[in-house]
Symmetry: C2
Subunit: 332 residues, 2 copies
DNA sequence: CTGTTAGCGCGTTCAG
DNA sequence: CTGAACGCGCTAACAG
């Protein structure tokens, strides 16, 4: 293991000088700097991030906290994008990052959680999939001992930022587009399959849909599908018959609805939300809101780094696309 | 941040005593032990793994190295299972673990890679998706500086173990079952869509299929589908017509084949390999080899821990199931 | 501008 | 059985 000491010796300077060069401190002569850099290259030296984290007062380790709520594996794609996007960005920014699954900490108290992160020298946390019921996490955020970035939830304070798309607007637009595309048919009786009661994104999407219903003077029936394909199937079976269009708060529900309609042998336009590739396998093409989860995650990590550098928490709204997803878009 | 020092003070003992209790050293009086344990609990102390890794000579950090080869996101499920299974087991075993994506290190030289892992205090590496062309990784393994566990490849030496299922047998059995189920029909002309040329699992599966062809006296046409759904589609289009059954070396190819058959409006039994839930969306139910990726990954981490404790490398073969996957098995 | 020194939190001798 | 002392690799004052 080649350490900073070896580099110092090789370059004929002091350890601290090497450290300063590596961390881009000012006040180092160019000559010394190049000398050190060369030694680094020759020895193939990579700073030991563990030691750096230990030594420095502001360690910059980040945890990706993944809360997998739904049993289905169909949406693993989203989590993979989150994880890979976040880790890649962290690597670019030279930040240490670890992945933590919610299940590993779910029965910990707030103090235990606190101690756990401290013990890992973690100071920044990016949280995916927080819901209103996750009390411990909310306490963690409110204590403000860590820098937190929350995905898909409107939580921000001095030490907490939120990153998400405008779910309200996205739901409005994807549903509007779908309705307009079917302008020839009757389409004013809408079945809306919403997400989870009290869910952050669910509520935003619901209000978006409500606004659309008001704007277009639609007759809307709202039923809670809880992001479940099975629930969506049952609700479709029960209510779709005398509706003209089915708007779903997630792709998975849209797929369930679509399959059920086929089984019922009736046609209704369906639209989804998220843009997962599974949509391509739904059988028919559907409109949906395409989110770039990898980018969302990367932005979240960047934001966490900004917070760690003393930035103030804020609300970040990223863009989205309305797309028509079909099998050919997926396969390769 | 509560440190070992605080615990020592609180318990009225020396720092080293606390350390010994925590690391289950012998020669500590029960009384002292309980005293320390109580202090730990009262102060909510969690050892700082960063410092521990730095201090101890044998750090036990493990890297999960994920090599995502295929562009399709349909198999993210597999990677998620690998990641969550591995991380969970590592947490149980109290091992530090980090996730590393191949893309982050792909243009590093062997020395850089070496230095990278060293710098992270990583000594154990679990590799998913290694192929014969990954030269740097093979060098890494051959150097034997790290303890490595390879998933799905027959590589083992003193410091390297391999973990996988018996792909030969699995391919044999799933194809045999599918053929026997269609015993009424002619089924001796087989189209086999294999994986990647020179791939470890691909070869094992191919030989399994070849043995079956010999045993059952089948007329077999082998074509390389490269685990690609699109390739499988094209090959099916081209060759399925005068075959009786299509055996695929992966679920994704099986799905492609199945969809194409539907478009061609002909029926042929198809079977796959892996057991991803996407199979449930294929339209018809299919036989496949169900692998428990989370368990495979967990076993790999356990094996890495064993190697780190001085165990010798070995070849571990886990079990699998032959299942008939249908939509109802997936949805919930 | 560069070198010296003191820790970060922990594991590990080695005396007591 | 316990505790003082050292060092892991690094950063951050402080001296020079």
């Amino acid at each position: 293991m080649v350490s900073i000491k070896d580099v110092a010796k090789h370059a004929g300077v002091a350890i601290s000088t090497v450290s300063k060069v590596l961390n881009n401190y000012p006040n180092i002569r160019l000559e010394t700097r190049t000398k050190v850099n060369q030694a680094v290259k020759e020895l193939n030296y990579v700073p030991n991030s563990v030691a750096a984290a230990l030594s420095s007062k502001q360690p910059c380790r980040i945890a990706l906290l993944i809360n997998i709520k739904y049993k289905t594996q169909a949406i693993d794609e989203i989590y993979m994008q989150y994880i890979s996007g976040g880790i890649s960005r962290a690597t670019e920014l030279n930040l240490d990052i670890i992945t933590v699954f919610f299940s590993m900490i779910e029965n910990k108290s707030i103090d235990e959680l606190d101690a756990y992160f401290m013990s890992q020298s973690i100071t920044g946390i990016v949280i995916y999939g927080i819901s209103k019921e996750d009390n411990t996490l909310h306490q963690l955020i409110n204590r403000e001992r860590f820098k937190v970035v929350v995905i898909d939830a409107p939580i921000f304070n001095t030490n907490t930022s939120s990153v998400w798309i405008d779910n309200h607007k996205a739901q409005y637009e994807v549903a509007k587009k779908t309705i307009l595309e079917n302008i020839g048919h009757a389409s004013d009786r809408v079945l809306y399959l919403s997400g989870k009661k009290n869910g952050y994104v669910s509520e935003a999407r619901l209000t978006g849909m409500e606004k659309l219903a008001a704007d277009l003077n639609l007759e809307m029936l709202v039923r809670c599908g809880e992001f479940s394909e099975l629930k969506a199937r049952n609700l479709t079976m029960r209510f779709a018959k005398n509706k003209d269009i089915i708007v779903c708060a997630s792709d998975l529900m849209a797929i369930g609805a679509m399959r059920t309609l086929t089984e019922m042998n009736i046609f209704r336009p369906v639209c989804g939300f998220d843009g997962i590739s599974l949509m391509g396998y739904a059988g028919k093409q559907m409109n949906t809101v395409k989110q770039d989860f990898a980018r969302i995650s990367a932005e979240a990590v960047t934001e966490a780094a900004r917070l760690l550098n003393g930035g103030e928490g804020r609300n970040i709204v990223l863009d989205f696309q309305i797309v028509r997803l079909k099998y050919e878009d997926i396969i390769c």
